[in-house]
Subunit: 305 residues, 2 copies
């Protein structure tokens, strides 16, 4: 198995691992109460099943970690962080559908439609997306400026919409099985399907924490580059990873446009490193305040799952 | 064919028909520019196809007509009205999917998945829902209060989410083919699957137009009753309507819980009339100002499509 690592193999991630694990536990607790039980038990159960199916919570952690650069009260960003994870979960449920990627397994567990049927899985995804916006408005503390809140909602809606995540996903599907492999299309897919939601997680944290324009710009640059590095690492792991470690089928991207397919494996690893370095450089103005964001970028490139 | 009419058969709807037709034309023009072309042509085409497939535009017309009771500038409510139609269109695309209602025909035209394939149809629905929120925020004039705008977005998100339209749709599907026909479940489905989005269209118009609390309450009452009457009429037309006039398959509700199935046809017509009368009564405080809302409720019960 090829090794996918930064040039510096000696970074100690134990502090980050503890941080990620604490934050994940904290977010899981809050996510667990996002879906209120009602007399619509089966739908709620289906939504909750996928929401609580053991995600890494990367996006909410990025939102919180960014806000905390500016010593922002975590409660101000938490409803937004949870909503972003709800949207991410919606996208996973729909991606796994028979008509799209037709995956039976996700994070080592049965996918939503396998357990609840296609109809409920489609509606559970829809409902997670729909509910995410009221979740933000209902739960964000009233001392967050209304203008900032509207700006964040607009950015999240754009990031997951037809020119964001959905757009990337559509082009990904339409490009399947095409022989004509095109680097621009590949970057479009990765930017919109993956990086847009990662970027908006970071921007949301910065906006709610009242970052200045130049700080928001630097963090946007970080988000874009981290998002691309993250998806390229995912592509690479699909080729070299172990099914058991990943908790999902590997080699499932065989019909898709991926970095390893377009650039080859070694060049893909190199490109992932370039984006990682660019991401880290963008953080320089924050010095030690951005320690965890920097560690997350470094850790991404060493991860095995 | 049974006649589905109010007790007063002599209402002249020519004025209303002209009003509806003018408003539909106006809304169609605005909807046509809601979906911006980008390099994601196929997805945008698919979204636009369903959005422009000839809907009656009932929900946006209700939002605008309600706002105009209070002499509200139409531009203040128009982006919200269009967003509600985008959400309605998303729900139709997903309802028609093979895994849900499996309909090939809608308003006399091929359904989205027949034309674009299931994967793109799923994503087109997702994207219409996702984009609707940024559409509101980007296009609503800045003199609309930020608090009112957040309130409307929250209400729309709830109305289409897991305790609203998606919730009603889930129970509708889970109740199919059940022998145990239950009036409470039937009302739950109709209230949430249909009435919630009709109600929120009306409430949005009232909130943006700065209606007073007692006026908002009366309009909510109107919306609830109109929404239920509207869905019961739909159920009835599925039994007695002509496929050609409806532009969709009739008798397609055979596996579903419907009013005619639970109450019989005559009683269903009677119940639709009761809800219509309740809706009209709720408008009494507005006198002539609510003329078009009253006519819409009266017209609903006479419609053949």
């Amino acid at each position: 198995m090829k090794n996918l690592q930064t040039e510096d193999n000696n970074i100690d991630f134990s502090k980050l691992k503890k941080y990620l694990s604490d934050k994940k536990e904290f977010i899981d607790e809050r996510l667990d109460i996002c879906i209120k039980n009602s007399n619509n038990l089966k739908l709620k159960e289906s939504m909750k099943y996928s929401l609580m199916a053991g995600g890494k919570r990367l996006r909410p952690i990025l939102a919180i970690t960014t806000a905390q650069i500016f010593d922002c009260d975590i409660e101000k960003i938490l409803p937004i962080a949870c909503a972003i994870e709800m949207i991410h979960t919606f996208s996973l449920i729909h991606d796994d559908l028979p008509a799209i990627d037709n995956d039976d397994l996700r994070r080592g567990k049965k996918t939503n439609h396998v357990l609840y049927g296609e109809a409920i899985a489609i509606i559970a995804g829809d409902a997670l997306l729909a509910d995410s916006f009221s979740h933000i408005i209902k739960n964000t503390p009233s001392d967050v400026s209304r203008d900032d809140l509207l700006r964040v909602i607009e950015e999240i809606s754009l990031a997951c919409g037809s020119d964001g995540m959905c757009g990337g996903q559509a082009i990904d599907i339409l490009s399947e099985k095409q022989n004509n492999i095109d680097k621009e299309t590949l970057k479009y897919i990765h930017t919109h399907k993956t990086a847009d939601m990662i970027k908006v997680s970071i921007r949301s944290g910065a906006i709610i924490a009242k970052a200045k324009d130049f700080e928001l710009e630097a963090l946007t640059d970080f988000g874009n580059n981290l998002g691309l590095a993250f998806q390229i690492v995912d592509d690479i792991l699909d080729v070299i990873g172990e099914e058991k470690e990943l908790g999902k089928k590997v080699k499932k991207d065989e019909n898709k446009i991926t970095y390893p397919k377009v650039y080859g494996l070694d060049a893909s690893i190199h490109i992932a490193n370039i984006y990682t370095n660019k991401a880290i450089e963008a953080l320089s103005i924050f010095k030690d305040k951005a320690e965890y964001l920097r560690l997350i970028a470094e850790y991404n490139i060493t991860r095995k799952f």
